[in-house]
């Protein structure tokens, strides 16, 4: 695998750097406390889980330039990877 690329994300005004491919939920859990959204159907050890219960919805205020989707938008944080 190539060199791990770090990405800068800001969640609730707290900025941190996480490796590419990290989900928003995982990034938020790194900060912990009030920042991490609740999640029900997501189980980190089970591949392909999550995205169904919509408990972990977060608002993405700004996406990347590569992604054409309009933002801000509510997304399931357990299935959406961070973008630069």
């Amino acid at each position: 695998m190539a060199e791990q690329q770090l990405m800068k994300v800001t969640i609730d005004n707290i900025t941190l750097e996480v490796p590419a491919g990290t989900t928003i939920l995982q990034a938020a859990r790194k900060i912990g406390g009030e920042v991490a959204p609740p999640a029900m159907c997501y189980y980190s050890k089970l591949e392909g889980s999550g995205g169904k219960c919509r408990t972990c919805l977060v608002e993405v205020s700004k996406g990347s330039e590569k992604d054409p989707r309009p933002m801000p938008k509510l997304v399931a944080s357990c299935r959406t990877t961070v973008m630069d």
Binding site: G51, C53, R54, L57, D67, L74, A76, R79
Partner: protein
């Protein structure tokens, strides 16, 4: 009489067969595209035409085509979405039943533009007789060298397969359609990845509506610029509208998109006015999932302009005073129709068709149906209306696929525009069982031409 591009030849005797279709100028665009144009030029032409997806969302077709990933050695696919399950919409059925070769011609040109050698038509299971029509047409086209191997000597191979769905509304959503085509349960996928990157069997896929693909034929024949001249603004070309409900002449009409709603409902060329001399109460302009509008807002926008039958004008004013063109299923309700009952019918439909994958839609549609049947049967409470509003707000935008939005919008619009009627049902439960609310709730009597 407006320009007709799609249904121009629909009533020529025998147009369903290859010989007659060819004699009437059919497959000219296929010859032109395959022999003298590059795939990129076709995509460019469709982009220039401003053609917007006719399935409901109105996303520009040329832009969708340009998103398709082109990795080396991976086949690409074009899928035609003929799973027309939206209540009130039957335009694709008409098109496929009367001129199946127009769809095949559009599919051939589009397949060439996208480099798809295996193209699928995903048709809803209820259209069993159309499957036979399409398969006969495919055989005829193959026998005449317009499908199969080495089409027109250009070395381009294209096969079209007809795949029957099993009658689920959700399979009209493109990722659910892809799942169903793969043989799985029709559950929408979580996006991204988008079908243009990973679609059928993880290959790049474009899913387009029947009417969109058929419209590629006139675009290639007349050129993208000439096509863009028809219509107004960003709503270019013609649109098929399937009109139904309390009107004198239900049916499928091809309109230019600068026609006013008033003319569409009342002129003899189109709907021919409200049946039995009744008055117009409300109208759902684009299939069951778009917001319902009362008569006064339907005929004129909130700014007082005439409302036209196109994407921009119908959505003028946002959801506060506008609606959407959607898929073109034009449902007209006269003064005798109960909005509460109508909303309940739609809510029941969406509860039944929700795939149950994600919570807001699965739970929300069920609760909306239960509350609405209570109000309808005279067991409602005053707080139920606010509760309904609350539920629909928590579904919209929070779901994996647009079915959640489609279930929420009709309920939201009914409460927004017809709250008086819901309150009347709650406050006069006995009376509501015996008579209709009619047009009484209009503050100013709506003007309806004779």
């Amino acid at each position: 009489m407006g320009v007709k591009l799609l249904l121009d030849k629909a009533h020529v005797a025998g147009i369903r067969h290859f010989d007659v279709y060819r004699r009437e100028g059919g497959y000219r665009s296929a010859e032109k595209a395959l022999q003298s144009m590059t795939p990129e030029a076709i995509v460019e032409e469709v982009k220039k035409s401003g053609l917007r997806g006719r399935g409901g969302a109105g996303f520009p077709a040329g832009m969708k085509w340009s998103f398709i990933a082109k990795p080396e050695g991976v086949p690409r696919h074009l899928v035609c979405n003929a799973d027309e399950s939206e209540p009130g919409t039957f335009k694709d059925r008409y098109l496929m039943e009367f001129i199946p070769h127009l769809l095949l011609e559009g599919l051939l040109v589009s397949s060439f533009a996208l480099g798809s050698n295996d193209t699928y038509i995903y048709i809803r299971g209820e259209y069993a007789w159309i499957v036979d029509i399409l398969e006969t047409a495919i055989e005829e086209a193959k026998a005449n060298g317009f499908l199969g191997k080495n089409i027109l000597g250009t070395g381009f191979d294209c096969n079209i397969y007809v795949h029957r769905g099993a009658g689920a509304y959700i399979c009209g959503e493109e990722t659910a359609l892809i799942e169903s085509l793969e043989g799985k349960r029709g559950n929408p996928r979580i996006k991204p990845p988008f079908p243009a990157i990973q679609g059928v069997w993880n290959r790049p896929t474009v899913v387009n509506n029947v009417e969109t693909l058929a419209a590629v034929v006139p675009i290639i024949n007349m050129g993208g610029d000439a096509y863009a001249q028809i219509g107004v603004g960003r709503s270019t070309g013609t649109k098929l509208i399937s009109a139904c409900g309390n009107i004198n002449k239900p049916g499928v009409y091809e309109i230019e998109m600068n026609l006013s709603v008033e003319e569409f409902i009342y002129s003899d060329e189109y709907c021919g006015g409200i049946a039995n001399g009744k008055r117009l109460k409300a109208c759902i302009p684009g299939g069951s999932s778009v917001p319902i509008l009362p008569a006064n807002l339907m005929l004129t926008t909130a700014k007082g302009e005439k409302r036209l039958m196109n994407y921009e004008s119908l959505s003028d004013g946002g959801f506060a005073s506008g609606s959407m063109l959607g898929s073109g299923g034009f449902i007209v309700l006269d003064e005798d129709q109960s909005i509460v009952k109508n909303t309940y019918t739609l809510a029941r439909f969406y509860r039944h068709e929700s795939c149950g994958q994600c919570s807001p839609c699965r739970e929300g549609t069920g609760w909306m149906e239960k509350i609405l049947i209570n109000i309808l049967k005279g067991k409602g409470q005053a707080s139920d209306i606010d509760l309904l509003w609350d539920i629909q707000r928590k579904i919209e935008g929070n779901t994996i696929c647009p079915l959640g939005d489609a279930a929420a919008w009709p309920v939201a619009a009914a409460i927004r525009h017809f709250r008086d009627e819901f309150e009347w049902y709650v406050n006069h439960p006995q009376e509501a069982q015996t008579r209709n609310y009619g047009l009484a709730h209009y503050a100013d009597p709506i003007h309806v031409p004779a």
